[in-house]
Symmetry: C2
Subunit: 292 residues, 2 copies
């Protein structure tokens, strides 16, 4: 599939930004000119050396001024300042999207700086790894993964954007910002918070015990450490910007955990068994849904 | 490496028991006769059809009476009744071990039924998957994984047993039962409890939301559902039999989670960032320790 966007700007050269550049290079049949920018000059240098963008620009203005499509792939806490800094550089008729993990906050932070002649269509690729930085990207990151578009109505611009995301390998669906933030709170934000917590609890153990926890990390803990190795700035921003939905899901989680804690203390085997049988069936449904 | 045990009995034909049989068949250079038993006749039938044991016995007595080594690979809640049922069948000079995930409880449950002429050496392979049952086993399960032996002093018997576990591909270490139960509480039992809880919380959501949680399960949640798909009986027994260490670690975890919850509510970005940076370093150490 070919992209209808011929000049694409990628702002933020971390895992997502560089993966978009890799994917454009690998998957686009038609010629696309890409403009890359990152506030960190070392990241710009690395991307220049990798030769994955047509132009790596030292100024954000130069990276967006000619673009049909501008993709903001920065931590959600930086969306506001990035939007401010590009508002006067955007080309008439351009489309701006973002890849942030929270949508209500990004809409509030970005929308005021989008000129009326420009379309802002928030989006979020449900794809990632525990690695970060410009060297962590790869072209197949978005393959067979959902890329959610937040928009109330389908327009020519959303169709063009959906086509572009599909050209990178994604499956596109449309959701509301509120619904997005609720879904992500339980599928991604809370699991990350929990993983950060348990690995933090382990790192506070006495030295001998901690060293042996690392040595004998059985599969449960090992999986948690992978999640808890994710980018600290990205995740700080996620929790600050989706706090309402995260705190609501956390409350439900705490209630369930208290129930299980009580069942363990009171040695209620039947209760534990039926709870653990129920969770097993959720896994089966995810496998059936093809999201493994 | 060859095993000094020539007649090996495997009691319990789930993931661990059948993986031991597969591994003996694949890795043992010398002839070993294996005797297999499971209280569930369907499991015995499946193992008979798979032809992975020399003999599949319908009576536990026949499965242990000639064995040099008896391996109890049943859920820890069944160790007591299994030990009772084999006490009068064990051969003089035989070694009995187990593969249970809790060690204090297994020692209490099994020791009283071990004749003085028999050696009981508790053990635990730190290996597993989310699958269970006789068809889930495979020969490489123990490769490069720790197999912990619980024994106060090294004897000829513990050396023989360590050699056998090494012949299946494991790295053997000796620990005390108390230390084992504490390490496993944080590396395995608590992560499983948390994963069961969060997947349970998700399964209680309203139907629409729940369906979309399954559909859009981002990588965090997907990993948790894998852990939460583990065998409900095994895990019920683990929590009932290591409740003290699990509840202690759970208390520490709850304190840390409350701290992070407060930091999110109060929008304390610096606190979140420094916590998330600390957990990232634990992952690096695990990768360095080669346990990935």
């Amino acid at each position: 599939m070919k992209s209808e966007f011929k000049k694409i700007s990628v702002i933020g050269l971390g895992l997502i930004g560089t993966s978009i550049l890799h994917a454009i290079n690998t998957k686009q049949k038609e010629l696309v000119t890409t403009f890359a920018f990152d506030a960190n000059s070392k990241h710009r240098e690395i991307v220049s050396e990798m030769k994955i963008a047509t132009f790596v620009c030292d100024k954000i203005h130069d990276a967006v001024k000619d673009a049909d499509l501008v993709i903001l792939a920065v931590p959600v806490g930086s969306m506001n300042s990035v939007a401010k800094s590009i508002t006067s550089s955007l080309k008439k008729g351009a489309t701006v999207t973002d890849t942030g993990s929270t949508k209500n906050s990004v809409i509030n932070d970005v929308n005021p700086y989008i000129p009326t002649s420009v379309n802002f269509i928030p989006s979020h690729p449900l794809a990632g790894t525990e690695y970060s930085g410009p060297k962590s990207g790869f072209s197949s990151l978005f393959e067979n993964r959902y890329w959610l578009i937040v928009n109330d109505k389908e327009t020519d611009q959303t169709k063009k954007l959906a086509n572009f995301f599909e050209s990178l390998g994604s499956i596109v669906e449309t959701v509301s910002a509120e619904y997005h933030d609720k879904i992500l709170a339980i599928t991604s934000h809370l699991p990350h918070l929990i993983a950060f917590t348990i690995v933090g609890t382990a790192s506070d153990l006495e030295t001998d015990l901690k060293n042996d926890v690392i040595k004998f990390s059985a599969s449960g803990f090992r999986d948690f450490t992978r999640i808890a190795a994710s980018d600290p700035i990205m995740w700080r921003d996620v929790f600050l910007n989706n706090s309402e939905a995260v705190l609501e899901m956390l409350q439900r989680f705490n209630e369930d955990l208290s129930d299980l804690q009580k069942a363990i203390r009171k040695k209620q085997g039947q209760k534990l068994h039926s709870f653990f049988s129920r969770t097993r069936s959720i896994r089966k449904k995810i496998i059936e849904a093809g999201q493994i």
